[in-house]
């Protein structure tokens, strides 16, 4: 009984508990109120259904949230991920060209150039933050504002339609499961290995908690920040490719619009504090899934769009509340008090 209780307590104390609970609640809601939500069928050897839909639509956000997690863990933030996604999509579309079924340039080269530009955007942010010393929120605001303009310059103010099917496959293709799912999983594993199998994760957390102590310990914090912002740019770029491939066009104005806010939200819901320090990549994935499940649920449920944002805000508020230290103390404090009586 006692051990059971301790296990439960440590579960409740884990930063992931709030996010996991919220996701369970959303799913439970759907189980009762949204008919057919959990239906999964195999159609043309492809898995289809609302759950799969959440994964496909949520993929760009999950990727952005992964990059954002590392940036936030260093005590920074990247407001430019949405526009960077738009720039990347625009570059890819422009390089492929508007002809039917052919591309001007081999697809691998297109992706390489587009993603290099995304990394460059991230490095620009990193230089402003780490080497020039501008506050992250201001430094990345520059590219957030300018980014959409740059994307429009590339698309020359048009929505560039992409007629090259292999590119579509990246966003909407299937190998039994949606291709974007494999991509998210692969990148999640790569980043996890990258930060946890090296000392990068330790340095990121140390910088996030105390930049000064890290500096005195001989950590080259500027280069680490540069790396992290570059990585965040890369994630945003891959997300941008997925978005443009999914809608088969590059829309400079709307691709990835407000994604930066959802990405930050996903990270925070996932238990990584905005002040920096300890981070959880799994948590951020969960956070992104919560946001996407919520959106999909609301659409499926037929809630009028104007209410959507309110419902979203309500759920986010609840999750944040569950994680807030003040609220936790209150909640746990009460569960401790009647111990002698209850057992």
């Amino acid at each position: 009984m006692d051990r059971h209780n301790a296990g439960w307590r440590s579960l409740m104390n884990s930063p992931l508990s709030g996010a996991g609970l919220a996701l369970l609640l959303i799913m439970a809601f759907n189980l009762f109120f949204t008919p057919g939500f959990f239906d999964i069928r195999i159609q043309d050897n492809q898995l289809r259904g609302s759950l799969i839909d959440i994964l496909v639509r949520g993929a760009p956000l999950m990727l952005m949230a992964l990059g954002m997690t590392l940036v936030i863990a260093t005590g920074g933030v990247d407001l430019s991920v949405g526009p960077v996604a738009a720039i990347t999509g625009a570059v890819a579309a422009a390089l492929i060209g508007g002809q039917l079924n052919v591309t001007q340039m081999p697809l691998s080269l297109v992706l390489l150039i587009a993603l290099l530009i995304a990394i460059l955007c991230g490095i620009w942010n990193g230089v402003l933050v780490a080497y020039i010393g501008i506050q992250p929120i201001v430094a990345t605001l520059i590219l957030m504002v300018a980014g959409r303009g740059i994307a429009q310059l590339i698309t020359q103010g048009q929505i560039l339609t992409i007629y090259y099917p292999p590119y579509h496959f990246l966003g909407a293709g299937y190998w039994f499961l949606p291709f974007s799912m494999y991509l998210v999983i692969a990148i999640f594993i790569l980043i996890s290995l990258f930060v946890r199998r090296t000392a990068l994760g330790l340095f990121i957390e140390a910088i996030g908690v105390s930049a000064s102590a890290s500096y005195y310990s001989g950590i080259n914090e500027k280069n680490i920040k540069l790396l992290v912002y570059g990585l965040c740019g890369l994630c945003a770029g891959i997300a941008g490719i997925l978005i443009s491939a999914n809608i088969r066009s590059a829309d400079a104005n709307n691709a990835g619009l407000w994604y930066e806010l959802d990405a930050i939200l996903a990270v925070v819901i996932g238990g990584t504090a905005l002040s920096g320090g300890r981070f959880s990549l799994v948590g951020s994935l969960l956070g992104a899934l919560i946001i996407q499940s919520l959106t999909t649920t609301i659409y499926r449920f037929g809630v009028p769009p104007e209410v959507t944002l309110v419902v979203k805000a309500g759920v986010v508020f609840t999750v944040s509340l569950l994680q807030a230290p003040g609220f936790r103390k209150l909640k746990l404090g009460r569960s401790v008090a009647p111990k002698g009586v209850a057992q």
Binding site: R197, T198, A199, L200, L202, F203, E205, A206, V209, S210, S212, A213, S214, Y215, Y216, S217, G218, I219, N220, I224, G277, R278
Partner: protein
């Protein structure tokens, strides 16, 4: 103890942190108009007792009574409203705000719904004059010395109508004159009927000001004594729970070390300086030698350390290691050159509080290896456990967060961080500041042992005794300038004091 004048009574206070018993059944009483010293080693429970009293932590058991009525401080603000104010060892003020703003922050007097700056400035001036300090209260606090900042913190605490004033290591940054001034203020407050809880590691100061002494050891209360009837040696042995043979042993070790100093010069500094920070100076440090840096606060000791470690860039001079120029220097490069620094400000530049003991110890070693060559889990555990044992760091295990450790143990963690990098030159800036005698002795012994192993040590300390005990050579600084270098028989209290003070007498005092 008679009941007549009891101001504050804490009864059977107990508090446990994850894996650590911090207080066990501790009693404490404070009378009106007394200075009551709270003594004990690091981790003995002093800080926790104060935190319980100021509402930062809640005790699991026990009662607190103020003027006979039970109180339950919820947080520091609540404690203040009850009349309990604290001034901490490391000052919690906003350096970017003005002196007056710092005194009145959070309780600004209003006039027509707007902040009444005129009153704020006037009253701030008056409050400081009460402490014999005259300065421009509209200047930012950061532009004043730590001593002044301390006084401002006290002025703030006093103005919040304190009945109980807690001074936690208030003198660790003050020079002798400033300490005397603080004591005058304390005596005046005492005569006004305030109860003052005084925490300090300086025995002289405790005996100079305290009426009674309560000793804590291993989270328990050893006893409460009148200062007049408790001999020093007995106090020390009560704090440590053992006799102090260790200290005498040190002198012999050092004697043995002196004869063994090799003549190979490791570090050669020529004409190194930075305008406004430190006048150009020369210094040589040999392998296996401890060079002490003595001088008053603000004399340029920390600046010397920062120039040698590359935290600050010099605008003149050269630093040679093994005869090779190593400038421009940065902490990262210094680390590669096998130079280490334990910084003076442990809290902001030393520990990474949210990380574990293991992570904190490995930080510099890992930074030297680069992020790609991570130490595997087994190596990490071996190194961590090795240093926890070797330095006697009291923590349940390496996975404890460093912020849960006491000050002295945090200091040992930072020492371990640098020892793990196997440095050739180790610069220690006030490594014993704010820690108890037992840990101090341990660190001094460690310094001598490291020198015996052939490492070069630059040792900075405000405590002259400590510098004398450990150093084979002493560089004395005054007013951001190297004034002399003492060696051999010259290393004694009189010589050092004279070198420090030489020109003070004909200066503006």
């Amino acid at each position: 103890m008679s009941e007549r004048d009891v101001l504050l009574r804490m009864k059977s206070i107990s508090k446990t942190f994850p894996g650590v018993k911090a207080l066990s059944n501790v009693d404490f009483t404070l009378e009106r108009g007394e200075v009551h010293a709270l003594m004990g080693e690091n981790g003995a429970g002093k800080s926790t007792l104060i935190k319980v009293l100021t509402g930062v932590e809640r005790p699991e058991a026990g009662v607190i009574e103020l003027e006979g009525r039970p109180i339950f401080p919820k947080d520091p603000h609540h404690a203040q409203s009850l009349g309990i104010s604290a001034v901490y060892q490391e000052i919690n003020l906003c350096l970017n705000l003005s002196v007056a703003e710092n005194i009145f922050i959070g309780r600004e007097p209003l006039k027509f719904g707007r902040i009444d700056w005129k009153t704020i400035h006037q009253r701030a001036q008056q409050l400081l004059e009460r402490l014999d300090i005259r300065l421009d209260v509209q200047q930012s606090l950061g532009s004043f010395s730590v001593a002044i900042q301390q006084m401002v913190a006290i002025a703030r605490a006093l103005d919040i109508s304190a009945k109980v004033l807690i001074l936690d290591e208030p003198t660790s940054c003050l020079d002798a004159n400033e300490v005397e001034r603080l004591f005058q203020v304390m005596r005046r407050l005492k005569s006004e009927g305030l109860g003052i809880i005084f925490i300090s590691h300086f025995l002289d100061q405790v005996y100079a000001i305290a009426d009674r002494i309560t000793v804590l050891r291993n989270s328990e209360q050893v006893g409460c004594y009148s200062a007049a009837t408790l001999p020093r040696l007995e106090l020390v042995s009560k704090m440590l729970g053992k006799e102090l043979e260790d200290l005498e042993g040190l002198a012999r070790v050092k004697q043995a070390g002196t004869s063994r100093v090799s003549k190979s010069t490791l570090l050669e500094v020529k004409n190194l300086g930075r305008i406004g920070k430190l006048q150009p100076f020369d210094l040589e440090v040999n392998a296996g030698e401890v060079v002490g840096l003595a001088g008053l606060l603000g004399s340029g000791r920390t600046e010397t350390a920062q120039l040698l470690f590359g935290v600050e860039q010099p605008d003149s001079g050269s630093i040679k290691l093994d005869g090779k120029e190593i400038q421009p220097l940065s902490p990262a490069k210094a680390l590669k050159k096998k130079i280490g620094l334990c910084p003076e400000n442990r809290r902001s530049d030393g520990v990474v509080p949210e990380l574990t003991v293991r992570e904190n110890i490995l930080l510099a070693l890992q930074a030297g290896r680069g992020w790609f060559r991570r130490l595997n889990r087994k190596q990490q555990m071996e190194i961590t456990n090795g240093y926890i044992r070797a330095l006697n760091i009291s923590t349940p295990d390496g996975e404890q967060l460093v912020k849960n450790l006491s000050g002295g143990n945090q200091q040992k963690v930072i020492l371990a961080r640098w020892l793990a990098t196997d440095p050739r030159l180790l610069i220690l800036d006030e490594p014993t500041k704010g820690i108890d005698i037992g840990a101090k002795t341990e660190i001094q012994k460690l310094i001598l042992a490291l020198a015996r192993d052939g490492k070069a040590i630059v040792f900075i300390s405000s405590e002259i005794d400590e510098v004398i005990r450990c150093s084979q050579r002493v560089m004395v600084l005054r007013d951001r300038q190297k004034v002399t270098e003492l060696r051999g028989d010259q290393i004694n209290k009189t010589w050092i004091m004279q070198s420090i003070a030489e020109r003070v007498s004909d200066g503006p005092a």
